[in-house]
Amino acid sequence: MNPDTIYWLQQLLNALQLGSIYALIALGYSMVYGILTMINFAHGDVFMIGAFCCLLAATALGLPFAPTLLLTMAGTALLGVVIERLAYKPLRNAPRVSAIITALGVGLFLQNATLALSPYPKAMPPLLDNLTWQFAGISVSSLQLIVICLSLGLMLVLDHVVHRTPVGMAMRAIAWDKTLVPLMGIPVNLIISITFAIGAGLAGAAGTMYSLAYPVIDPQMGIMVGWKAFIAAVVGGIGNIRGAMIGAFILGGVEIMVVALLPSTYRDFIVFSLLLLLVIIRPQGILGQAREQKV
């Protein structure tokens, strides 16, 4: 193969890796928005807490990769449920803006509390032996393969849960009509808590993989990654789970392309400009359905 093709295939692999991490976080934004029409701005910081959980499990407890991942996911899932119960549930009937501001506050709180406990960036120990293989000139690392395969696996499981199980059906029903659903005997509060747990658990998985792939973590890492994942959810059509996955891979691709072609400082500028254009031209996103405004 000629070197150009190899270069772009290599970049495509990088884009897949970044995109799959974005996708795991974007799913949490999208699920919560779908069910509560609320932008959970604290989600990026739950991802950051996931990275720190992973660090704790790996260094303080000395666990290998698989238990670390599971423990991190369980920890962030619990955190998600606690945040929902304490901060968001009392505001469910309040004006929507109150919930958004509370979410911003919760996010800042998580960030600054972590900053108070751990003021300096921390290095993540390598949990996995990093092997590299060569396929026709393209080098593939085992870490990349694990990140991509594990993310895709989690997404498939989630897709199955949402579209094929009673819990998923209840979630979609709540997203469809919140007033009618309790009359059908669906425990709304439980389902909402499950949604938050799943979303936050996926963010924990993303935190683990991100900290393995880019092994320096700090309390403010959740801001930018969180916003990017949020963009991915909007691009795909917020509230739509498959859309969030597609949006995340598009965003990962765009970011890697921008960095490959232009100085890397232009990345945020271009990504946010694209978001602006998309929201103005097609607010419902790629897979979202436009809702008519009723009088």
Partner: protein, 368 residues
């Protein structure tokens, strides 16, 4: 409550000369404090921050409170005003010889910001609610990232060496002028349009409110004020960098708006003042000097375990306070109410007829 004292208070509040007298007193103080060093420099600095924050809060309240949209771009507007006016005073205008050119630089910064506000207003024609919040967020990030990429204005390193032109009288002048401007706008014909957009945009369209024109005015006025505040901020701090104007800055202004209460100018003034003071009191050095009268056996452990760590802790306390305010006090201090002095005379009579005689001691409720 002492009824006689109460009656005197009511009488005082009804005097038409009260507000001009207070303003004149404030103006005299604004000149006298730096001239005769009535307070030390630190307190003067806090007073100026309070003024700037009042401008920011009142102008954000115009969009987020009165119009009911959710804008996150305020820090970005501030950045545009700050950079424009700072570049003007550093490179173009000879402020060294003519310090009176400072307001020209501020107005230019405000005008540049208003143009950006127009862009946000135009996008608000197509989308509302959450999506407008996303658009304003994108505006904020684009402004920040654009500044970071222009090396001529310092890029990510920031812009040092701005002349210190912001003085207490200037802050006082701009705060009063801009608050007065917003207040007149809110109680004008257009202001009614803003309130009707918050209640129901489609219905107000049907009632022949020109919602597009009203939105343009509101966004441009709001961003103009933010630009002026940014200019004042830049010439007070003497150093600006894109990091100063990030989403955390917007969150701070949001806290001040919602602490004070939406759709209330008096509330915004209280919210901005209270938040700024609280943030300063929670500094380790300030807290230590405030509590230094405590006897050593109490003070020393308190210092060791609490005050010394406030530098980090206050950034944990503030967002927690925001969440608690939203949970237990969602309307803020003055939500949807107003001080009597800010309500025009013609409205006051109308409200008086609507309200029950026994009202809250601070003024008539101003419900729209």
């Amino acid at each position: 409550m002492n009824t006689r004292l109460w009656r005197h208070w009511e009488w005082l509040l009804d005097r038409p000369w009260l507000l001009p007298a207070l303003l004149a007193g404030g103006l005299v103080l604004a000149f006298a404090i730096p001239q005769y060093q009535l307070f030390n420099n630190y307190i003067q600095l806090i007073l100026m921050y309070i003024g700037i924050n009042i401008i920011l809060t009142v102008s954000l309240n115009l969009v987020n409170g009165y119009m009911g949209e959710f804008s996150l771009a305020h820090a970005g507007f501030m950045a545009v005003g700050a950079y424009t006016s700072a570049l003007l005073t550093m490179e173009v205008l000879p402020v060294g010889t003519y310090p009176s050119l400072f307001p020209v630089a501020l107005l230019a910064g405000g005008a540049a910001t208003a143009v950006l506000g127009l862009a946000v207003a135009l996008s608000s024609f197509r989308v509302r609610g959450d999506y407008l919040a996303i658009i304003t967020l994108a505006f904020l990030m684009i402004v920040k990232s654009a500044i970071e990429n222009v090396d001529a204005i310092g890029g990510p390193r920031g812009l040092p060496g701005i002349p210190r032109l912001t003085t207490l009288p200037w802050v006082f002048f701009w705060t009063v002028t801009l608050v007065w401007l917003v207040r007149n706008f809110v109680y004008s014909h257009y202001g009614r349009g803003i309130l009707s957009i918050r209640e129901d945009e489609i219905a107000s369209d049907l009632m022949s409110v020109d919602t597009r024109r009203v939105k343009i005015f509101a966004f441009m006025l709001s961003s103009f004020c933010a630009g002026i505040a940014g200019g004042l901020f830049a010439h007070l701090l003497q150093f600006i960098s894109p990091r100063v104007f990030d989403i955390v800055k917007t969150t701070e202004i949001l806290i001040m708006v919602y602490l004070g209460g939406i759709a209330s100018i008096g509330g915004s003034i209280i919210g901005a003042t209270l938040y700024t003071l609280l943030l300063e009191v929670l500094r380790p050095s300030t807290m230590a000097s405030l509590l230094s009268w405590l006897p050593a056996p109490i003070f020393d452990p308190l210092y060791e375990y609490f005050i010394r760590h406030l530098g980090v802790l206050r950034m944990v306390i503030m967002p927690l306070a925001l969440v608690l305010v939203m949970l237990y006090w969602p309307r803020g201090i003055m939500g949807m109410r107003e001080f009597r002095g800010f309500v025009p005379r013609r409205d006051r009579a109308a409200h008086h007829a609507l309200d029950t005689p026994a009202e809250s001691p601070h003024g008539t409720a101003d419900r729209h």
